[in-house]
């Protein structure tokens, strides 16, 4: 279909690039497949760094500015690696009504970071979700991919303390 497609060498020997290459091949190296390719990169590497964005942009023949634009437009993509543990606080309407705001305050107080940030020792990343769809369990929090329902600030505090051993019991 598209002649003169030169296969670009992967940025490194890392095997995970093969997965990315496979996705880009499946979308026919077309610009249309940009979002799917970025999904694959994030799934494989956990985040999108400059090397990855450049590689995908050149391979799909889109300007780097467009790849960067797409990567920053969508909330699902992250340009920074996550911490060792992640804690996603749902801020959907049902969770908000049932006190998700207090959970955010708890995190701010205990870890000194806001949703979207990672502690300086890279131990814990805190994220917020628009809605997990677990409204029956509001307020909901996802600790390392495990959904917990009807979370109280105290439970959240204990979980954080467990991850971050040297937190004082203030």
């Amino acid at each position: 279909m598209r002649p003169n497609l030169v296969k670009l060498a992967a940025p490194s020997q890392d095997k995970r690039w093969k997965i990315v290459d496979a996705t880009m091949r499946r979308v026919g190296q077309r610009s249309r497949g940009l979002i799917e390719s970025l999904h694959t990169v994030q799934e494989a590497f956990g985040y999108l760094d400059e090397t990855a964005l450049r590689y995908v942009a050149v391979s799909l023949r889109v300007p780097l500015s467009r790849a960067y634009g797409v990567a920053t437009f969508y909330h699902f993509f992250t340009l920074k690696p996550a911490g060792e543990h992640t804690c996603v606080i749902c801020l959907g309407t049902a969770c908000y009504i049932k006190g998700a705001g207090q959970l955010v305050d708890t995190v701010k107080r205990e870890l000194g970071i806001a949703p979207g940030e990672t502690t300086s020792d890279r131990k814990v990343s805190v994220l917020s979700a628009r809605c997990l769809g677990s409204c029956g369990l509001a307020p909901a929090v996802v600790y390392d991919n495990q959904v917990a329902g009807k979370v109280t600030p105290e439970q959240l505090r204990q979980q954080i303390a467990k991850w971050d051993g040297h937190l004082n019991d203030a």
Binding site: S31, L34, E36, G69, G92, T93, K98, G136, L137
Partner: protein, 543 residues
């Protein structure tokens, strides 16, 4: 695949099912899974294996049973429903099949929450195993498709949908038959059918539940639509945040392809249809159809002015039909039972049933399907079981960030597209959040404005700047620093943003503010004149 072959699969499956006297169904949709229902299922499986053939029992993973707040839910063949089941209850549950139900886990099903529902979209949810196409076929699945393909012309299919009076379940309520007819008449080298499964409203999880509990129903709806409008390619645009729905859709597509219900020359006819999944990446605006198309094309999800509507110029410039998950899920029963059957349910202008996600300060949170025209009072107090902890009802929010907050005096209003719009809210996709006196309505308006501000794509100025300024004003009010001029300015901005924004996101962003100003003016007044928040939410730590 011929209708006879389909019937054969259905019969084989029914016979196999009949051979197992006892079936224990464990909910494995996302709500119950997050309360460890997988562990319950494994424990039951293990116990059945341990007991060997004498158990006469099969453990089955099924979709959502609705009462998500009481999960994990387990039901048995005789209709007994158990709530909050733990893995350690496995032995007791299996003993209960012989010795009578386990009292301490019983969940009563003779209550309005179950009795008042009328299930069409959710008819298979909680009944069939979503990962087995045979079970869907045994439950009359794909019969509508074969009926349409072998006995109806595309024009007849569209006529049936028009007759049913079905309106888009994504929120706006555009007549589905009319949309199909426009796409079928449009000229293009290639037509597309897109299923909008980018359920972005916070507090709404109907579409996720349908996809997780009965994915084949959505595929069948899309197939019938594709046949009716003359499309041969389709996309399901689903949120990346719904991994389980994605997994089950992938399984469903593979199974349908294997049986020749998807692909080339379906059932020996000239009709071909292929479906691909496209993952959303977390942008609320992508629920807007032109933004969704941009996203499928690999671009930033920004809307463009309409017309031309996607029905004429959509994906890659070709005629494109975009419907919501629930709309497609309604199609197979309409084709099976006829448009008149569907039109007999609901109200004059809003036909059929609607699935709602009931959440917030209400006793029974979960998923319910009710006929259109039911009153809000029935929803909140009968089905929802009222407000817990003896608190007072304050408002019910429908339609997510594009909808409004309705007060107690609106409780006797019927739930249909027109009534909700007249009251200053919208039907929306079906989120229904109940609030009691512990919620401050100004704070709630600020919450939604924060959402719209963050989710504004930034393409048009009224939405990008307007939502920011409205949020700033609401923030001042909740900090108890506002003056009456601030409210006047807020009202002016509402008018401007509503009337001049490019797409639905901006046009409806002022709704939560307008509806709270209309029904809860006293609360705004209290914040400004008396520096007081009746709910005690605002102003903490500022004075």
């Amino acid at each position: 695949m011929t209708p006879e072959e389909l019937e054969q699969i259905a019969n084989d499956e029914r016979e196999a099912q009949a051979g197992i006297p006892q079936k224990v169904k464990v909910c494995v949709a996302a709500g119950c899974l997050s309360c460890q229902s997988q562990a319950v299922k494994e424990a039951l499986d293990k116990e059945v294996t341990r007991r060997g053939p004498v158990a006469h029992c099969k453990i089955k993973g099924v979709g959502c049973m609705g009462l998500c707040a009481e999960g994990p839910l387990v039901s048995t063949s005789d209709g007994t429903l158990y709530k909050r089941v733990a893995a350690s209850d496995a032995v007791a549950l299996l003993d209960g099949l012989e010795q009578g139900p386990v009292e301490r886990l019983l969940c009563p099903t003779d209550v309005p929450f179950f009795q008042r529902q009328q299930k069409i979209v959710l008819e298979n949810s909680g009944v069939i195993d979503p990962e087995r196409i045979e079970e869907y076929i045994a439950a009359s699945g794909y019969r509508a498709l074969l009926h349409a393909l072998t006995e109806m012309t595309p024009v007849e299919v569209i006529a049936e949908i028009v007759k049913s009076g079905l309106r888009g379940r994504g929120g706006a309520g555009y007549p589905t038959g009319l949309k199909w007819s426009t796409v079928s008449k449009a000229v293009g080298t290639q037509k597309y059918v897109i299923c909008n499964a980018d359920e972005g409203d916070p507090g709404a999880f109907m579409d996720r539940s349908v996809l997780e509990s009965d994915p084949h129903r959505v595929l069948e709806g899309m197939l019938v639509a594709a046949y009716a409008v003359g499309a041969s390619e389709g996309y399901i645009y689903v949120r990346a945040e719904y991994p389980l729905a994605i997994k089950r859709l992938k399984i469903a597509i593979r199974q349908a392809e294997k049986l020749g219900l998807l692909g080339s020359n379906i059932c020996g006819t000239h009709f071909s249809f292929r479906v691909e999944l496209r993952l959303g990446a977390g942008a609320f605006v992508c629920g807007e159809e032109t933004a969704l198309i941009a996203s499928i094309e690999g671009k930033r999800g920004t809307p463009r002015p309409r017309p031309p509507y996607p029905a004429i110029e959509g994906l890659l410039g070709q005629p494109t039909l975009i419907n919501n998950v629930e709309t497609f899920a309604n199609i197979p029963p309409i084709v099976r039972n006829g448009g008149d059957w569907y039109a007999a349910i609901g109200t004059e202008k809003s036909k059929g049933t609607k699935v709602f996600a009931l959440a917030g300060r209400v006793q029974n949170t979960g998923l319910v399907e009710v006929p259109m025209g039911i009153t809000l009072r029935e929803m909140v107090f009968e089905i929802g079981g009222g407000i817990p902890e003896g608190r007072q009802f304050k408002a019910v929010q429908t339609g997510g960030p594009s909808g409004g907050c309705l007060p107690a005096e609106c409780l006797d209003m019927p739930v249909d597209y027109e009534s909700l719009a007249r009251a200053g809210s919208i039907m929306g996709s079906g989120g229904m959040i109940v609030m009691d006196e512990s919620s401050c309505m100004v704070d709630v308006a600020k919450y939604f404005m924060d959402f719209c501000m963050t989710e504004s794509c930034g393409k048009c100025i009224p939405c990008r700047v307007g939502t920011y300024q409205m949020h700033r004003l609401l923030d001042t009010i909740t900090k108890l620093h506002a003056t009456p001029q601030d409210v006047a300015l807020l009202e002016e901005l509402c008018d401007l943003v509503k009337n001049t924004s490019l797409c639905g996101l901006g046009q409806s962003a002022p709704n939560p503010v307008l509806s709270t100003l209309r029904y809860f003016a006293d609360e705004y007044k209290g914040h400004i004149e008396r520096n007081r928040c009746v709910a005690g939410v605002c102003g903490k730590g500022t004075e």
